[in-house]
Symmetry: C5
Subunit: 262 residues, 5 copies
């Protein structure tokens, strides 16, 4: 579970509602079914129209992945590649056949399988890069869905506010209802701006960042398999793959391998 | 027929009107010929001025394709390419001559014909890539038309609202008409914002997504023909082309070929 | 003459004024010299400050080209290249010397002359690509001028409105003049938003689209000359150049050559 | 002196003030020290925070260059390169040693010196391209400074207006002061929007356009030196370098060289 | 300490508050806990939701680096590389082993170590470029965090204002409280717009500019090591690395080396 995501969404919505309460506002006055219908219905409709039907479910998955996701960890991956490189130099690349079942990421397994099967590096590279693009396209659609929703929500919120104002203005003869009417009209704006900025746009970015983190691990896996296939020395492979790690991860990696090697 | 598109557009416009009705609004007060004339006329005029005349009809086709379109399916295409590869290895590439009539996509047929005619891979690749760009340019124009319309509509709507407000303000001496006048002025904004966000911008994105989906199938076809021409083994071709499929499609492909092979 | 451009601009401005009249507005109340002075003067001044002096006249030419322009037609160009290819294969590339006078586009003539003069393909390609970039830079400046104008106009319009409102607000003691003053202030907004969305931005896009259409013809010409120089067979050249045409143009080309060949 | 820049800035600000006067506005009411303090101080502070300290002075230089700048002229440069090419073919590249003092642009002189010193073309190209990037980075910073200022000014203007409105609203019990207060608050908006659109953004664009024009001359110089080093014929060099000139410049060049050759 | 950053932030916020005071505003009326809770809490929450948890601390580090940072200086780096090149030509590259401890930047040390260990230039280049990308990704996250905060703050500020207005409008029956209520509602806008434009966005840009300045030094280091490995003459290396310096830095470098050589 991604606690950062939970804390973030609870914090932003919670503090805003709390502040509103402290200033004397009534949360009930912000609960308005029709405004919700306009903003959520209009935004969802525009997104369903915009996206291919087979991508809609993916965007729900994307939203879930903001809170729950199986993250690829680069450190054990590098350690495993280094092990494989040692073994391949000692016993030949065919010896890795038995190791394939220990590989968790199917992308890594497929690349390794192709190397063991003796495919040319060029074919392997091309195929795995297409594979990576396909995976990234999926994440891209999830990201774009929430970005699009974050774009539509505020304008639909304004649409709702203008519709409310038209209703208020057309009945201007009773000024005592003016304030209440305007207040109601503004609720749609609150929903639209809030939905976009506290939910949709952060979702879109989180999905993109997660996809990029996974893409780096896949790059490490692909690079590792290609270097094993080339028969490069395992310590050079380790050095080259470690350059994908930031300082904190590098230190963690060194601590882990030192312990593992002890 | 693309049911997602129908559901999306009906849902967004329907729910907004429903919510407006529930709040006591009158749909009649939103029907205003002059506002429609301003928003639709102004937006259409700006787009007609902006786009080359021979592209205007294309954009109408693009709008139709949002609801009705013949989608290219990658799975039978890959299966067909694998069949062709087997046959070409057995009987030579000339044997594919008889298969050309079974090829539905003219792009695929043209690439295959060039391979059978013995053109160099470089010429084939260059020609077919130009062909792909030409097709993508057409889709791009359709997309840009609706994007442009989605950009003009809200500003033209604001133009309409300001024109209405000028009219109202110039007659401020009769305050009883103020509210009604402002309400009327706002209807142009509703039309502009609604047209842009519930119709034009989603249309533009859908056209782009559809074009991209077709482009991937064309990439598979071109890659396939080039690999057949190179004389690559059919199971490697299959593996390489399958990397264009996402997980769901891959499973479907495997299920289909398993059934087909049974 | 580009009738689409004429229809577009007349349609957008005409329909908006018509709708305004139908709603009871007076066109006279929209004619306001000071607002025009602010919006047109301010926008023109900002553009003159922004653009190199030798590009200002070019932007006027660009505006004229929106309505009147000599468009390059790809179909006769391809037909001509195919003729040249046939002749060059029969009689040698020097035989094209006599044909140069029949070439209308100076870009095409220059490329052909370089090929006849026996320059290396690499030098020819480099020189003509620089030439293309130079032409595209000119069109780009025209486009950017109108885009910039379209960016400044609405903000200058708002500036005019705020100046008007300041004037109105400072004299708030006579409320009877309030409405009229606000109305007048808003006219600058109408001018700014209208100028940008009904004139400047569509101009910019049209100029860009026209430049791109011409660029494709130039690409065909350059590609054609290079293929002639390589001594490629004329039917392959035809096939390769036809891939630049969209479906409608392709059919037209085939109809024309069929008729021409009869 | 760049007269276009002077005319542009005088025209936009002058005409707007003139129109304001014609409508009965008082220029004194637009002179407001506190609004100026907010807009200029806030914008300058944000820019100083944003930019590296050693780039601040460069942006002042950039602003000066909008009005006064020594522009590189491509035509004499090409003529000089052609002369050098002739001489290098006749007397060897070392003969250009004596010509270096006649070269005004230090960039050109450095490239020529490296060619005379017999450095490899690859090293020469790499070094001079880095040099070009360094120069372009400087211009880029100047441009970005004014672009950033143009981005901050209107929002700081709005900040000033909102601060003014808060002050007005808190003292609503005396309605006679309402109008004047709002008018004063709006002056900050006028300053912000005007500063951005009539000064900062046009400055940024002009700096960019000027830098691009100089970059093209530097490209001509670098290309010329490389062609001289290769020992290419001077008339081919001339033809190749002329492709960087637009039509007007080309005609001017031909007129000048015809006169020079007479 | 980066004095420019301190001056910038003190100047913008200070002058705005001063001007507000001069106009008769009370700073107390701008201190509003609930508005601060909404803007800071909402913005922070959205950012925490958006960014991977392990990047949040990095963004705090980024903010600190705006005021305090250890900047890489290109001039001593170039001088050191030139020294290394001389020594490597005289005594062989292994002689640099003893110099590694004098190298401060770990990136430079790693590149040098790889060259001494005799790794192939291609492997060295690839590894160090990945290393650079990893460092740039870290800076990019810091930059994007503040950019995102600068994007959310104003909209959350508007959200706060609308919530305040809803509260005011719902209690319109007591008009004497209207002004104060609106004033309070506007404070959230001031916080949002100010936070974004005077803090977050300038932070983001400064972080980016600093990262780019460091990246240039790393490019110099990498280029230098590769040229030493190639065995290039030290004066050519010096010339080539100096092309990364702008005019001011070049003069400073020449002054320093002249003094050093004396």
């Amino acid at each position: 579970m991604d606690f950062g995501s939970v804390i973030g969404i609870v914090m932003s919505i919670g503090l805003i509602l709390l502040a509103n309460k402290m200033e004397g506002g009534h949360i009930e006055s912000l609960l308005l079914g029709t405004a919700a219908l306009i903003v959520f219905g209009g935004t969802a409709g525009a997104c369903i129209l915009q996206f291919p039907t087979n991508r809609i479910m993916g965007s729900v998955k994307g939203a879930i992945s903001v809170f729950f996701r199986k993250k690829l960890d680069p450190n054990p991956t590098i350690a495993q590649i280094v092990e494989f490189a040692k073994r391949a130099r000692r016993e030949g690349i065919l010896a890795l056949e038995k190791e394939i079942d220990n590989v968790k990421d199917p992308f890594f397994a497929k690349a390794l399988r192709m190397a063991i099967d003796g495919l040319e590096p060029k074919t392997l590279l091309e195929t795995m890069e297409t594979e990576m693009e396909t995976v990234e396209t999926e994440a891209d659609f999830q990201m774009k869905f929430w970005e699009a929703a974050g774009g539509y929500a505020p304008t639909v919120g304004i649409l709702g506010a203008v519709l409310g104002l038209i209703h208020v203005m057309a009945n201007l003869n009773d000024p005592s209802k003016l304030g209440g009417g305007i207040a109601t009209a503004f609720v749609a704006t609150v929903y639209g701006v809030g939905l976009a900025n506290l939910v949709c746009l952060p979702f879109a970015s989180k999905i993109k960042f997660n996809a990029k983190a996974d893409a780096i691990v896949r790059e490490i896996e692909l690079k590792g398999v290609l270097l094993i296939q080339e028969g490069v020395n395992h310590s050079i492979i380790e050095e080259q793959l470690k350059s994908y790690l930031d300082d904190k991860m590098k230190k963690k990696y060194e601590a882990q391998t030192a312990k593992g090697g002890a």
